[in-house]
Symmetry: C2
Subunit: 242 residues, 2 copies
DNA sequence: CTTCTACGGTTCTATATAGAACTAGTTGAC
DNA sequence: GTCAACTAGTTCTATATAGAACCGTAGAAG
């Protein structure tokens, strides 16, 4: 029994419809991280498709970073590696040089009307604004302001802080089925205004790095806009091109 | 007649050997940008492989950004879009906001022994150091120092400057068959030392952005290390993740 | 001149099949 | 107990084939 899928456009080729179906089942939480998916043979039988078509659909998801194939063993759901890459950028290190995961403190979550630039980027004015402070060994080093569409994340303001970890993308995925697949960053340098200077514990006008990010879901729809601000002298941003 | 290929490891699957062969012919300049490659049918006949296998090889090269398929028309060699992406990063703009391609002036090219960090990154100490200044509307905005392995780029020092355009990667490809497929950037913040300050026409100690880049050839071998330095206030770096 | 139609060539989708390569677990020999 | 051999199940490679979808051109129709 395979639920025939009303949402997928029937004009799409079969392998893409199968890909969408599997992606949806992943988003619905049918499998956990590192879980074994049905084999190519089973899928082909269930969906009445040839193995070649199934392979093509799976390959697509592998390319998108959702699945992982192990020859001889099977196909597995991959824990989104996005968090890791995210944190390779802010090469935050303790004084002794050991890399460390920053902690994260939520300052506010409010439903607001988005600033025009943000509204244009997200395609809606009805958003939730999140303010957040990230610390490393008790010392703040990054002040962030995030906007997410209220329609896509209903009730986000009400989630108890205790249930929100240091990273938001897992929360998006677990509670709202939104998988952040891609993002665009822009880095520039500026000076700290009074509010952020106070939050970061630096002098007003001190040099800061600004990172603007627009994050997209698998569908290509923008789902988060954020700007982060940290002291320039401790800042490192890494990226990989090509 | 297809040259049987002595360089490709015969233990590799056929589609990878075909990919290598085509990649080599591209590097050898057999086709120019936007040229039409032989059709799948022709390739499959020439190499005595099935169309499916040929498609797999071509798909690989498409994924790597070397080729471009147009349904109904054929498969074309893609002008490396690397230059474009490269310059999306340095979002240099004229005063009126119009994006502009910076000009480039070579200051020196010398065969030297690499600094230890660079030597370690490139895997050799025998390198050519290139110093370069990039300008936008006559005003310098980026001072660069590059290192490339002398063995991989023999005679690079001797190429007349008139034959080197504003971008180096096309030169690597055209004259040395080195296709830069991938790069890793690191952006950080610092202050200008005396030499770069003079070159950029800014005060010593002024805030600057530093971009370190390690570039890799298709084979995975590192082929260039560079560091670029520009005034922090005019700087923008863009990247795309995921 | 414009629009339509037909055609050869191309890539794209999909199926069916066979065997190789690999993995993890089980069984059996010693 | 240890190690080798076997086995069922999985992905991977490769082939062959058929038709759909698409592009560019050439020629016909208006």
């Amino acid at each position: 029994m395979t639920a025939p899928n009303p949402q997928s456009d029937t004009r799409l080729p079969a392998y893409l419809r199968l890909r969408d179906d599997i992606a949806r089942r992943i988003a619905a939480g049918e499998w956990g991280p590192d879980d074994l998916l049905p084999s190519e043979n089973k899928l082909s039988a269930q969906h009445a498709l040839s193995v070649g078509t199934v392979r093509k659909a799976i390959q697509q998801l592998v390319d998108e970073g959702l699945l992982e194939r192990r020859q001889g063993s099977g196909t597995f759901l991959r824990k989104p590696a996005f968090d890791a890459t995210l944190f390779r950028f802010f090469q935050a290190r303790e004084a002794d040089g050991a890399p460390s995961i920053p902690s994260s403190r939520l300052i506010s979550r409010t439903r607001v009307t988005a600033p025009t630039a943000v509204g244009a980027a997200l395609g809606t004015e009805d958003v939730i604004r999140i303010e957040r402070l990230r610390c490393l060994s008790e010392q703040p080093f990054l002040a962030e302001t995030l906007y997410i569409p209220a329609a896509r994340f209903p009730g986000f303001e009400a989630i108890p802080e205790s249930e929100i970890g240091p990273l938001l993308y897992p929360v998006y995925l677990d509670r709202f089925g939104v998988f952040v697949a891609r993002a665009e960053d822009e880095v520039r340098f500026g000076t700290a205004d009074a509010a952020t200077a106070r939050r970061l514990g630096i002098a007003e006008g001190a040099p800061v790095a600004l990172i603007e990010r627009l994050a997209f879901a698998m569908s290509g729809e923008p789902v988060e806009w954020r700007i982060a601000c940290g002291p320039a002298d401790r800042f490192r941003y890494r990226s990989r091109i090509g």
